[in-house]
């Protein structure tokens, strides 16, 4: 068992255990902070997969952006002094059974499929290659995503605004 395997199992344990707490804890704020740990664990998995730029983007956008948005959502839609900060769950037992069956089916299918796996050796730096792809093959997608983010921001501000103009 070499160092790579130890890091993989560490990050996988961080990801899965904190995701478990996200799903099962009663307190929404605890769930949000466990979600942060999940995002960090997934970023570590990305680094192990030689995707350094994606890992940094994951930390900046997910932890710095989306998680803050979710925390704002929690704070603005729940009275902190109230007991409604607790989020109750329903259908625990049927959901456990069906999701367990689903996960077993998924993993059995994955393990019984002969995926073609290529050995790439040492990972190469990704940043320059991603930039070249972004400015050549994916230029149209890049531009459309810029417009989409603008529309999403304007739309979110319109929807969340106090009174209609």
């Amino acid at each position: 068992m070499n160092l790579y395997d130890i890091f993989f199992y560490t990050f996988a344990a961080i990801t899965l255990i904190s995701a478990f707490f996200v799903v099962f804890t009663k307190n929404i704020v605890h769930a949000a902070f466990n979600l942060m740990l999940t995002f960090f664990g997934v970023a570590g998995i990305y680094i192990l997969l030689a995707a350094d730029f994606i890992a940094i983007v994951q930390i900046i956008i997910y932890v710095g952006g989306i998680l803050i948005l979710i925390l704002f959502g929690v704070m603005l839609t729940n009275k902190i002094t109230d007991i409604s900060l607790k989020s109750d769950a329903s259908f625990i037992i049927p959901a456990s059974i069906s999701v367990g069956l689903f996960a077993g089916m998924l993993i059995a299918t994955l393990l019984n499929t002969e995926w073609k796996s290529f050995e790439h050796g040492q990972p190469i730096p990704t940043l320059s290659n991603l930039g070249i792809l972004l400015m050549n093959e994916y230029l149209l997608v890049f531009e459309i995503l810029g417009v989409l983010l603008l529309i999403a921001l304007i739309g979110a501000a319109m929807i969340a605004r106090k009174e209609k103009a």
């Binding site: 996988a12 899965l16 994606i54 994951q58 997910y62 603005l76 290659n129």
Partner: protein
């Protein structure tokens, strides 16, 4: 115990996906449903990047993962705005109590 390879990452992402599905099914709070959605998007991203590393697709997998992260940011902004509006109109964000299309 075998050395870590493609299958380990695929099993990890499918477990994360199942946890996300479980969160979406069982939680009543709309913000918690959103958190389950983020778990699912992350598991899909792990798959994309694992196949970018172990497959023969160059950097296209990492590119798609980048686009998924951008779309997740846009989706979170819109969804939180909708949740705030629902809270303003119904004074609750439990998805099983919001069953009116108009007042």
């Amino acid at each position: 115990m075998t050395s870590v390879g493609l299958y380990h990452f695929l099993v990890l992402s499918s477990l994360l996906f199942s946890l996300g599905i479980f969160g979406i099914i069982t939680r009543k709070n709309a913000v918690m449903v959103l958190m389950g959605l983020e778990l699912i998007l992350n598991s899909a991203n792990i798959n994309f990047i694992a196949f970018a590393r172990f497959g023969n697709f160059g950097f296209n997998g990492q590119m798609i993962a980048l686009f998924v992260i951008i779309l997740a940011a846009a989706e979170a902004a819109i969804a939180l705005a909708i949740v705030l509006n629902i809270y303003k109109n119904f004074a609750t964000v439990n998805v099983d109590e919001i069953d009116k299309l108009r007042e």
